[in-house]
């Protein structure tokens, strides 16, 4: 991009054409992860709202570190493995907690940690629905999930729907530069039935998870409270390309721990 393009705001006139599926794939990998073999992390912080028929209220906070292990397969494809590790915290503190005084039920909940992955994906050139405004660019990843959200994965109950939408924001000028990784800001929303450890099966309503975060470069960028949690509960998570191999999720992790009690 030359000086004239910068002055006139013509950020889209770099070498990348986001309407071209191959360029779009490259931009996607660079924004969300990396165009070379690399590990990227996102540091997320958010709030869960209890969305009840008579109102919504903040329920609990959470933090997570998402790990993506990216690999370039060839010019037209990338693969990545995603992991997540995190914890819940009180609304007025960032320290991880294991028990929670639920203000809606007035019961004490034994919480589970946030744990997920590895989720493996291979991506190839495709049309993506980018939103572009000046030098800013966004891509969103809406995902619907159908499943059982109870204490056990019962086949007697109807499946329930949850919906997650993850939005990544970057800069066109960075996607056009020579580096393999671009900075990325993330917003995460997730609408779900009550997770079982909140013991709210009898309460009409749902959970709304809302979080913000960014791609981070090093252990130095990890918040202090998260460092404390990882050192205590998930050693080597940040350094390892494969912190665990058995696929899991926060629900599955809770159920397995629950069985052992």
């Amino acid at each position: 991009m030359n000086r004239r393009d910068l002055l006139t705001g013509k950020y889209g006139q770099g070498k990348l054409d986001l309407k071209n599926s191959k360029d779009s794939l490259y931009a996607y990998a660079k924004l969300l992860g990396s165009t070379n073999n690399a590990m990227v992390h996102y540091s997320l912080e958010g709030t869960i709202f209890a969305y009840l028929p008579n109102g919504a209220q903040k329920l609990i906070g959470f933090q997570a570190i998402l790990k993506g292990v990216w690999e370039k397969i060839d010019e037209d494809s990338y693969s990545y493995k995603l992991f997540e590790s995190g914890f819940f915290h009180h609304l007025d503190s960032k320290n991880y907690i294991e028990t929670f005084d639920n203000p809606i039920t007035n019961k004490k909940n034994q919480l589970s940690n946030i744990k997920g992955g590895p989720y493996k994906t291979v991506i190839k050139p495709r049309q993506l629905d980018w939103v572009i405004s000046g030098n800013d660019v966004w891509i969103q990843e809406p995902k619907t999930r159908m499943g059982h959200f109870g204490v056990s994965e019962s086949t007697n109950q109807d499946k329930q729907t949850s919906f997650a939408n993850t939005i990544f924001k970057g800069k066109i000028s960075e996607l056009n530069d020579e580096s393999s990784i671009a900075s990325s800001i993330m917003t995460y929303n997730y609408i779900s039935p009550w997770y079982p450890f909140f013991e709210m099966d009898d309460v009409d309503g749902k959970m709304y998870w809302q979080a913000v975060g960014k791609k981070i470069q090093s252990w130095f960028d990890v918040p202090k409270s998260m460092k404390t949690f990882l050192k205590a509960k998930q050693k080597n998570y940040f350094e390892s390309t494969n912190p665990w191999s058995e696929p899991t999720s926060t629900l599955k992790h809770f159920r397995e721990n629950n069985k052992q009690k």
């Binding site: 006139t8 705001g9 540091s43 912080e45 709030t47 709202f49 969305y51 028929p53 008579n54 109102g55 919504a56 209220q57 903040k58 939103v131 405004s133 000046g134 800013d136 966004w138 969103q140 809406p142 619907t144 159908m146 329930q160 729907t161 919906f163 939408n165 939005i167 924001k169 800001i185 917003t187 929303n189 609408i191 709304y208 809302q210 913000v212 975060g213 960014k214 981070i216 470069q217 130095f220 960028d221 990890v222 918040p223 202090k224």
Partner: protein, 292 residues
């Protein structure tokens, strides 16, 4: 200095043009006091809010947005229904007791998910019926920003403010009369607006207004034009956008042309219209109840 009643396009283009590029500052557990800003001080917190979302000066800001409405029902899951795009206008001024006052307007359209063009009608993926959306129009809505401790979040030089709002109010559309357009006697909305900016910009005393991007999520009762009646579920409105720095670079020409046709002078005027309106009111004004 008196509030200007008119603003030309050149002034909009230069609205926050004095903003310099932000240096990247690495680090965690950011100490805002060391950076010249203390968000634990209610007065500085309100000033930061005004600079991020609008402006601390007597001026106008415009926010471009673009998104999708997804419908959610217990039986059929989640389906994208329609797109939306528009420009919010905030008319800001300093207020008493270290506060700020702003008036918000909204103008835009519901759009085709594939082409991005305004739609007159579209097929509802849940009912299979043709729906005719109204135009997106809202405001004037007035708000006072008082000194307070808003919970900003930070990672390095990046800063966010999540602003949730829960609204539960009487539906203007009586379900006994508007059988297909009304979801019930009361409407329930959970809005979460997430604003993102840079700490270094907010800490710079030379800036009245700083670059900001926004993500909006609205969990709401069905819009009346979806004609879902009292079918269980609701919709999830998601949009992304930004404070407009340069109208012609940041906002697609199709949207600028639409707004200038629908509401001439919208970008320049501090009071593009006087009577308060909103999507539900507009529906009631423009449409007739549909019989089963």
């Amino acid at each position: 200095m008196p509030i200007k009643k008119q603003m030309n396009r050149r002034e909009i283009i230069g609205g926050i043009g004095a903003i310099a590029a932000s240096p990247f500052v690495s680090g965690q557990e950011l100490n805002f006091i060391d950076r010249g800003i203390n968000l634990n001080d209610p007065i500085q917190n309100a000033l930061a809010y005004a600079k991020l979302i609008g402006t601390s000066a007597r001026s106008m800001v415009h926010i471009y947005y673009h998104g999708t409405i997804f419908g959610m029902t217990p039986d059929e899951g989640v389906k994208p229904m329609i797109g939306l795009t528009g420009v919010l206008k905030g008319v800001w001024k300093p207020w008493v007791d270290n506060g700020f006052y702003y008036t918000l307007y909204d103008c835009g359209y519901f759009m085709d998910l594939k082409t991005g063009a305004p739609v007159e009608e579209f097929e509802n993926p849940f009912t299979g019926e043709l729906n005719r959306p109204v135009k997106i129009i809202g405001g004037p809505f007035d708000r006072v920003i008082k000194p307070d401790l808003r919970p900003f979040k930070s990672r390095g030089d990046d800063l966010w403010l999540e602003e949730p709002a829960y609204l539960n109010f009487v539906n203007k559309l009586d379900p006994k009369i508007w059988k297909k357009a009304s979801t019930g006697e009361k409407l329930s909305f959970l809005y979460v607006e997430t604003y993102h900016g840079k700490v270094s910009d907010l800490a710079n005393p030379e800036f009245d207004s700083v670059p900001m991007t926004i993500t909006s999520t609205h969990n709401t009762s069905w819009y009346p034009f979806f004609l879902m009646g009292q079918r269980p579920g609701g919709h999830y409105w998601q949009s992304v956008g930004k404070k407009v720095e340069n109208l012609e670079v940041d906002v697609p020409p199709i949207l600028i042309n639409y707004i200038e046709k629908e509401s001439p002078g919208y970008f320049e005027s501090e009071r593009p219209w006087k009577k308060r309106t909103g999507t539900f009111q507009a529906y009631k004004n423009q449409r007739q109840p549909i019989k089963d």
